[in-house]
Amino acid sequence: MLKNYMTVNEVFGPLMFVEKVTDAKYDELVEIELSSGEVRRGKVLELHGDRVMVQVFEGTSGINVGETKVRFLGTSIELGVSEDMVGRVFNGFGIPLDKAQKVIPETKLDINGSPINPYSRDYPLDFIQTGISSIDGMNPLIRGQKLPLFSGAGLPHAEVAAQIVRQSKLLSGSDDFAVVFGAMGITFEEANYFISDFRKTGAIEKAVLFINLANDPAIERLATPRMALTTAEFLAFEKGMHVLVVLTDMTNYAEAMREVSAARKEVPGRRGYPGYMYTDLATIYERAGRINGKSGSITQIPILTMPEDDITHPIPDLTGYITEGQIILSRDLHRKGIYPPIDVLPSLSRLKDLGIGAGKTREDHADVLNQLYAGYARGKEARELAVILGEAALGALDKKYLQFADAYEGKFIAQGRDEERSIERTLDIGWELLSMLPEDELKRVRPENIKKYLKRGKAPAGQSEENRRK
């Protein structure tokens, strides 16, 4: 029989302190029974003599000092997992939301998982074609990568993420795949956008959804991504599936973390976020990858909105230090009506170097990518100069670069929401654009590739209307 403690002595924010406890363990699951009979969950955050600090997932309102019963369950927080979870919807704590029957677990797993032994990791090498040029061509996604979308309020990150989920495929053909979707504190509309898009394309049959909406308990969000990733690990490494995990919005997750930290009166790091945020986020993002000798994989696309579009804010900053690159959405491009508004210069895919090239995408891929970057960067500089000095003050070469930058945004970055470009098409557009520049300028391209791919006299003019917002 579990002991019922009625010794709650302090409740503060999301925290509750219980006294005269003799058998609690650090990090274990706690059941809290309110006087109304309602049962909530918590976990042990700290033990100090016989005093226990508990973090309550569903909020502390209604918990009182005299009548609340507390039980320490003797296990960590676990999720019962099974292949039958595919196609189902759960709340942020792993309880089924749909009316169908309960999941009969094949096994129960600690949602904190364990770190993958770095020695066991298999380096990600397989290119995923998302059909989006600014990703495939410039910052390609590799199977087993963690590549976040850095967005801002009001930018179309949901559309971009949904398009990625819809169109992603390996060039070598299809495999057993699944989508795991974790929503933390997003609005009903946004969640619904994803769900109906998954429905439309049939992805829903292959998806496991964990939904914590904006009006759901905030502290529960701390568990949601761990629920999602525990499921993903099970499907990937036990069942051999290729799992794409979308987590949105990591900013809400981090805010929940800040709330708990503030209640614990911890010394805050930058902007009030706890000093351990890097490590905490790493225990989420590092649950991606491939393992030697196992056929499955986990590819993660976390989404976060940058407060005030500020990339130096601790949430995007620490994320960028952990993930293998980032895809950044730009408000400027969005205002210009360019979809997807991907800001390619500060975006990055760190795993691209070994995932592209002959036999994987095309031999000229790295050259085209480097040259497009250099050209676009120079064009944008010229554009800034032109703003200050007027276009007339630009040298002839800078004028060419300026035209190049415009054409690049209009033809390469911009594409339709349902437009799925093959990697060949993406690279060919790249060459068309490069042909606008004098050949001497193409220093990043190997001469062999210039000879083979550079078609002369086919320079496209400016920004084409048909590609603008459809």
Partner: protein, 585 residues
Amino acid sequence: MIEGKVYRVAGPVVVAEEMKNAKMFDVALIGEMNLMGEIIGLKGERATIQVYEETGGVGIGDKVISAGHPLSVELAPGLLGAIYDGIQRPLDVLKSKVGDFIARGVTAPAIDRTKQWDFVPTAKVGDTVTGGDILGVVNETQIFQHKIMVPPGVAGKIIDITGGKAKVEDTIASIETPAGRKDLQMLQRWPVRVGRPFAEKMQPTIPMLTGQRVLDTFFPVAKGGTACVPGPFGSGKTVIQHQLSKWADTDVIIFVGCGERGNEIAAVLMEFPELKDPKTGRPLMERTILVANTSNMPFAAREASIYTGITMAEYYRDMGYNVALQADSTSRWAEALREISGRLEEMPGEEGYPAYLTSRLASFYERAGSVKVIGSEDRTGSLTLIGAVSPPGGDFSEPVTQGTLRTTKVFWALDAPLAYKRHFPAIHWLNSYSLYLDDVKEWWEKNVGWNWKLTRDSAMALLQKEAELEEIVRLVGVDALGDKDRFLLECTRSIREDFLYQNAYHDVDTYCSASKQYHMLRTIMDFHELGKKALEEGRGLNQILSLPCRREIVKLRFVEEARFEDVVKALGESMQHQFDNMGVV
């Protein structure tokens, strides 16, 4: 044995009571699982313990045992090519023991106890030896000679020494000491928090060549020196560290992945066994030791990982080798320090870091050096330390970057705008510095090019001038510049694009020998000098800029080392010829 009980658990910090007589920095084992930790504070009979594994499931009253010895590493043949976690548990062995995910409470010896090594004595019975003296050698790899040394603090007369097959725990020699007979094994232990002793520190004068042009030519680090690489995310810290691990001309490389990505370790494990050391032709893995405590592994062990790494490095230094240690990233180490300090409820300093952050950083970097090692023989070794720093928001004014800059002598400043432009390595030439330039000048000018320093300095001066001119262009447009300045901008563009830019992923460009570096830069500077003269003599700017030799300069990066000498010589001649044809005298 001291056995106490858990009194408090706050994440990786555990307080145990009834720990009378426990010693600071001794190892402690907690609970049924024997989770490993280190005593970092004592107050009355209570001991504060930093635990290197997750403490989930630990409860009040669980037993705590003090092991009676400090956290130490094992030193013996078998270190090279190994991969360890932050407290020297071999990750390959852990994998075979518990599978692909790291479990708690597992232990495995760092050094294989069953492997037989062929010990060849070089000392003989009757010799008087002291700490650091070499008893004999073992071929640790096909080409690497591991020297078996008398441990520091031990001295006496050899009364027995036997060659032949031996395991690391077998007695290979016995000596008579004032305290009686002492048996010596190949295996030594050394506490990680204490630097291994050396006889004397010397001023470093030999450059550590890395094959990276911007580093070797512009901001060199000396063997035995210290360098730091701060940069915002994605600016290229990891690639630089990997490039150094691949190409630095040291005998041993120790790479400490400290709170970084698992896949970066996987990349090393995938590439290093395939890549060949340019000096020896052997796989790079054979001269490398990896310490991998990735960001998702317990952060208390991350704090220990750099000490684990540096102690192994000092051990190889003591044999008389040149060793380089790279720590990626020291910011994650500092954060671990901050976390532990926070749980100890210490007074926080700047940005929550403990007040002793700077002194800890300084004493870590102080373990670098070019030294005369201990022992009766005259032997030198070096330990070069390179630390990556990950400043939040790329802001170099934060405490870890500032604390590091105060002690390191080379500053490789990574720059986000350069990285966005895909100018790699994104090391900013105006912000970076090296305080070893004068120390290594002699080596370069004796071995590579008599006017190395002059060439480097004048290239640097041009780059400085470029920055000023760009300021003018930004204000009034390029039309305001005369031909002389425009020509200068073309030359600096060539320095940037044809010399400083270096693609780590290109088969040839990834590594550039010292001599190739010198001649590449010399060629660009020769072009500048000839062109400047031509301009002064009234030749047109466009005429100079369209000389065919310019295209050849662009291609120099991609010329293989074997052909380079011929190519660059021919280019020098044709360049001279082209200017001659313009009638420049």
